[in-house]
């Protein structure tokens, strides 16, 4: 009975942490006469978190299989340029977006095949594709940014429902709901956990491990491509360097959410909280006008504290 209580607490620790951060920021901000806790700013935070949250879905499922994908930031940059060039040349927006998702899938397929069939470590494969894809992003338009394309694409990020809820929130809710259901209730989802937990056992139990791994990387690439579409729609300006180091933010969100780097353990639902915590930190600290470099320090410390708190359970078990 006591044991059960403990597990419950650690399951909720990330939510407690998030509420704690909100609480602290609300107090400090109101002491400074700034407005932190209101519906507008909460939506603001979720909207700012949305791109990272989408990337973090991919990061989470890849990490759950015991792998890692460092190429997603480059995919974001590549897709931005590719999409902007295509719609500038008159391609209908839906077609252009589908092409981008295909690009993301192909890059994921490339990563997945090398990792599963080629036995190249995920870190190395995706480190390589990270650089190669970033190079491609610069090559396709000669290193130049793209602008002057039809601005209708902005509706994908700038639409608001009921005047307050940004469309980014909708993407997060839909994609997370779908992926959480897949992870919990399908053979594919259980296979991901099994693979990350013990790949040998997973293979023996009849899971097509290699195929599953490839699909996971394809999904990760597609989420990254979608995040690239979102970023372009938000900024209406495609820069080949866009999305650099986004992979680290995505991994950080997954890790804060309690996804174990060794694979097989963690809940996708908590990843979105991780992404929101990261966005909240930037938002709150910037509202307080804290100098930028302190923000980096504070964010880094929070990542460490979050993982430390999350591992409490495992340490106790030992």
């Amino acid at each position: 009975m006591k044991n059960k209580h403990n597990i419950n607490l650690s399951d909720w620790i990330i939510y407690i942490g998030m509420i704690g951060i909100f609480f602290v920021f609300t107090i400090i901000c109101s002491a400074m006469g700034k407005n932190f806790l209101n519906i507008n700013n909460v939506m603001n935070i979720v909207n700012q978190a949305s791109i990272n949250a989408i990337l973090a879905i991919g990061a989470s499922i890849v990490i759950l299989t015991g792998g890692i994908d460092l190429s997603v930031g480059s995919v974001v940059g590549f897709v931005g340029i590719f999409l902007a060039m295509n719609i500038k040349s008159g391609m209908p927006i839906p077609v252009a977006i589908i092409l981008c998702l295909i690009c993301g899938a192909v890059i994921g397929l490339f990563n997945g095949i090398l990792i599963s069939y080629g036995k190249v470590p995920a870190f190395i494969t995706t480190l390589g594709s990270m650089q190669a894809v970033r190079g491609l992003a610069q090559i396709i338009n000669g290193g130049q940014a793209v602008s002057g394309f039809p601005l209708e694409i902005g509706a994908l990020m700038k639409t608001k429902f009921f005047g307050v809820v940004p469309i980014g929130v909708l993407y997060v809710v839909v994609f997370y709901t779908v992926m959480i259901l897949i992870l919990s209730y399908t053979k594919f989802g259980r296979g991901i956990y099994a693979l990350g937990g013990n790949s040998h056992a997973a293979r023996l139990s009849g899971i097509k491990v290699k195929k599953l791994e490839v699909i996971v990387y394809i999904l990760c690439g597609m989420f990254a491509a979608f995040a690239g579409v979102m970023l372009l729609a938000r900024l209406l300006y495609a820069d080949p360097s866009a999305g650099s180091s986004y992979e680290m933010n995505a991994i950080a969100a997954a890790v804060i959410g309690g996804i174990s780097m060794s694979g097989g353990k963690g809940k996708l639902a908590n990843t979105v909280v991780g992404a929101i915590i990261l966005a909240t930190l930037t938002n709150g600290l910037q509202i307080m006008n804290v100098a930028t470099y302190y923000q980096t320090v504070i964010t880094g410390l929070v990542v460490i504290v979050a993982v430390f708190a999350d591992k409490r359970k495992e340490r106790k078990a030992e």
Partner: protein, 368 residues
């Protein structure tokens, strides 16, 4: 089986594209393995392009008469992922070509890639280039590379971002610098703001990468002229990037709904700032003053999304770099300091400036 075949083909296609992408840059010559992953950057500058006669004449008229075809100069740029720096690189490449020199172009992957620049310069030194033209990614931190150049007797010319005085003092050498006095540019923007808001205004500043002289100068120059007038409510380092500028301004607006002025130290951050202001529906209340004068920035001024931007002369810098490097190689003295100047671009002169920039850019990317 069919599926496997398809996936194998797709895989090969992907590998093929990447290999092509990665190997293309080595045509330039003696790149060693370390610079291979930067090969994509080299692609940006079209080395096969011929130089227009006009440019060739202009450059030749400024240097001592001599055969320069023996010489190789290495250009180490800050980055090649934005228009401004590409123009500097193109100007150097084309001007060098005008003299028949071999020009190698390398740059860091991002604005603050100091370590990559160290590697690039070390590679240039070991290749034995005859001169190095440098746009430093940080005003400090390149001392060891510069020391190597000095020891190897390779002349260095500094463009755009000035190496700081301490670095030069430590090095015990004066490195020629041609670029804009960013402090003066900052003052111009400051004057404009002070003139438009004589009774003061709530102001936010988006700054670049901390530690770069450009950032400090643009900031201090602005405050020198506008500091008494403006009420500075927020400042954030958005590292010259569009997405960081966007997020920072969203948050700053949240904290200061009555904000009136945003000063962005470059156009990329300005573009992000405008998107955030536009989304908040505050374009009537918040005015953006930008800096750099890249084509998109000028377009924003024409569209009245920016009140002004401060245009620099990247082409002039590149030309001066090569001309003076040629002088050094010919045994003459180079100019130690040239202010290439900058001008405040507003709605009145934005269209002209844009046309001029495009013309210049066309001239520099040359007739094929």
């Amino acid at each position: 089986m069919k599926k496997k075949l398809v996936s194998a083909l797709l895989c090969m296609a992907m590998v093929g594209t990447m290999l092509v992408g990665c190997s293309g840059g080595n045509e330039g010559g003696t790149d060693d393995s370390k610079s291979e992953d930067k090969a994509s950057d080299t692609e940006v500058v079209d080395e096969s392009a011929e130089v227009s006669d006009k440019l060739a004449e202009e450059i030749k008229s400024q240097v001592p008469d001599k055969d320069y075809s023996e010489y190789t100069i290495g250009f180490c740029g800050m980055t090649l992922n934005n228009e401004y720096h590409i123009i500097v690189a193109n100007a150097v490449a084309q001007s060098g070509k005008a003299l028949g020199m071999k020009v190698e172009i390398q740059a860091g992957a991002e604005h603050q890639s100091v370590e990559e620049q160290l590697t690039i310069i070390e590679n240039y030194v070991s290749q034995g280039v005859d001169g190095i033209i440098l746009v430093p990614a940080a005003s400090e931190g390149l001392i060891s590379a510069l020391q190597e150049c000095k020891d190897a007797g390779i002349p260095v010319i500094n463009l755009d971002t000035k190496l700081d005085d301490n670095t030069l003092k430590t090095l015990g050498e004066d490195i020629p610098f041609y670029g804009t006095d960013n402090y003066v540019g900052g003052q111009m923007v400051g004057e404009k703001v002070a003139e438009m808001y004589p009774d003061g205004c709530k102001t936010a500043i988006l700054r670049g990468v901390q530690g770069q002289t450009n950032d400090d100068d643009r900031y201090n120059g602005f405050l020198d002229k506008a500091g008494d007038v403006v009420d500075l409510v927020a400042e954030q380092h958005a590292n010259w990037e569009t997405d960081l500028g966007y997020t920072a301004i969203q948050n700053i607006i949240q904290a200061n709904p009555d904000l009136q002025v945003i000063y962005c130290e470059n156009d990329l951050m300005g573009i992000g700032a405008y998107q955030a202001v536009d989304e908040a529906g505050l374009t009537d209340k918040i005015k953006i003053f930008s800096y750099d004068g890249v084509t998109e920035g000028l377009q924003y001024v024409i569209d009245e999304k920016f009140v002004s931007t401060c245009a620099q002369q990247p082409i002039e810098m590149g030309k001066l770099g090569v001309v003076n490097m040629a002088k050094i190689l010919a045994g003459d003295k180079a100019e130690t300091y040239i202010d290439t100047g900058c001008k405040l671009v507003t709605i009145d002169n934005a269209e002209d400036t844009l046309a001029e920039t495009e013309k210049y850019a066309a001239e520099i990317s040359a007739t094929k």
